[in-house]
């Protein structure tokens, strides 16, 4: 068993009902090939660094799973044929993964998520509002590029801002 990460970009104009069958199909595929789903992480809408199929935005999804080469081959074949997927990339994270260790990891992650939900209700809200406030400057690419165009000092300061944003 190997551990893989697949990042794929779905057409942003699709609604939830339209994209859900695709997600179900891919997750079913993993199960059908004796794979082990670790995480299905939706990053949401993001601006693309360059146009893909005339799209400037995309809906990013990260698939974290265990399996073997045939599973990856099948997954990529499906994504290649599907018009809804703009682009995909699979990265092998670890060779020779212990199945039991991964299963315990999945369980631990689930429990952590549950604990977070039950205990940190109001705190989470505060964090969310904070994130929203800081999101606008970081989200758009062009303003930061424009600032970097200005004298050297300005470029350095934008770099620092980005770093602190990332840490928050």
């Amino acid at each position: 068993m190997r551990r893989y990460e697949t990042v794929f970009i779905v057409n942003p104009s699709l609604s939830q009902e339209e994209s859900q069958p695709l997600f179900d199909k891919l997750t079913d595929l993993i199960a059908a090939h004796q794979g082990l789903m670790v995480k299905f992480d939706e990053w949401g809408h993001k601006r693309l660094a360059y146009e893909i199929k005339q799209q400037t935005r995309g809906y990013y999804i990260l698939l974290d799973f265990c399996g073997n080469g045939s599973l990856v081959k099948e997954l990529e074949r499906n994504m290649r044929l599907d018009d809804r997927v703009l682009k995909y990339m699979t990265v092998c994270v670890a060779k020779d993964v212990d199945e039991e260790a991964v299963k315990t990891e999945i369980q631990a992650a689930e429990e952590a998520a549950k604990a977070k939900e039950s205990s940190a209700g109001p705190v989470e809200d505060a964090a969310a509002s904070e994130a929203q406030e800081q999101a606008p400057p970081g989200e758009t690419l062009e303003p930061s590029l424009g600032e970097a165009e200005a004298p050297d000092n300005a470029a350095v300061s934008t770099d620092e801002e980005e770093l602190t944003d990332g840490k928050v």
């Binding site: 990042v7 660094a49 360059y50 590029l145 770099d159 980005e162 770093l163």
Partner: protein, 83 residues
Amino acid sequence: MARFKRRKRMFRRRKICRFCADSSFVIDYKNPRTLRLFTTERGKIIPRRISGNCAKHQRRLTTAIKRARTIALMPYSASLSHY
């Protein structure tokens, strides 16, 4: 000759690999924010000679940046609207 060259050289602050200095600073292709610190505004990867990274981390950094490029998290070449 060698001594002459050394004298001619200006004083420079010794550069330290930022990834060796700070272990919480991780290289990950999924996090373009940190990767962007090591590219020019045009999207080129900054050489080790200038950034001061060690060989090990520069190697990982380049693969991470190239991975980020393939899934459009980072540009292959950024266009400057001012030109």
